[in-house]
Symmetry: C2
Subunit: 175 residues, 2 copies
């Protein structure tokens, strides 16, 4: 891991940290989320399933939550807080009716994933992300990080409202 | 694999096949689906994700479709018909609102998995299941096969209404 990526990710420090990175290195950071420096984890689509959900309202999506090996083991063992190295990935797709299935089933009942909306990752590193509960965040669209610092600043304040006993994670494991 | 399990699974032959199995062997069959002799695959919960869905109406569930390595490779490569050895698993849970999430998000938008309903498997064996499009079926509740022959007799007639070009499978892979 690059030494620069070990910097403290506290939101208050973000502007300073960015200012310290030479422009030539800054180019590489286009592949990482602002503030938290989270990159798209290799092979995440092969990870095991933690759970699924439907968010209605303006999100209007179907979602799957996957975890790397550390995350899935911690979920299954009930280990909290999650150990360093945990990565939880939330994939989401537009919530669309399946006209094809509905025609076969004879009623409007089937909803399936449409186009991908975005993928979010929560990365546990209790030292690097000490000021945000040990969690770093990233959102990716079409394989690229969303580079909005304002968006990233919304991650932890919302997760902080989840139970501390759940280590600021919303999703429960579904056997 | 037991020799008895290689019998042709045609629905019309099921009564004869069962009649030919001695009672002592019949006891072991309590672990398999009727007609198709499908058993709960070891380690299926570790399989990779194919897709997710919501079925409304009387099913009223959230579901995840997982696949063994053969299934996932075939989905990703677009291989049709699916090769022998393919197993597709459909897990489903009651569709329930998350009061906890809704309180945090400030609106009723979040639906999560409740209690498991059942798990269904589609097993590809073009020789064993020649008379049902190459597919054998099983439904499991609390880890045990549903032993209703009448239920199993509904599987292929419904799947047969899916496109033959999709090899009688409803679920598409969601990247």
């Amino acid at each position: 891991m690059r030494r620069a990526s070990r910097r403290a990710p506290a939101m208050a420090m973000a502007a300073c940290a960015v200012a310290l990175i030479p422009l030539a290195v800054g180019g590489a950071d286009d592949d990482a989320s602002p503030i938290f420096d989270v990159r798209l984890p290799a092979g995440y689509r092969d990870w095991q399933l933690i759970s699924v959900a439907h968010e209605a309202g303006s999100l209007n999506d179907l979602r799957a939550v996957l975890g790397n090996d550390v995350a899935v083991k911690a979920y299954r063992d009930g280990t909290r807080p999650f150990p360093d190295g945990t990565i939880i990935g939330r994939l989401a797709w537009k919530y669309v009716p399946s006209e094809e299935n509905n025609a076969i089933f004879g009623q409007a009942q089937s909803f399936v994933p449409g186009a991908a909306t975005n993928i979010q990752f929560s990365v546990k590193d209790s030292r690097k992300y000490a000021e945000t509960g040990g969690w770093g965040y990233g959102q990716f669209e079409d394989g690229k990080p969303n580079r909005s610092k304002a968006l990233m600043e919304t991650c932890f304040p919302c997760h902080a409202r989840a139970n501390k006993a759940d280590d600021f994670v919303f999703t429960r494991y579904t056997p």
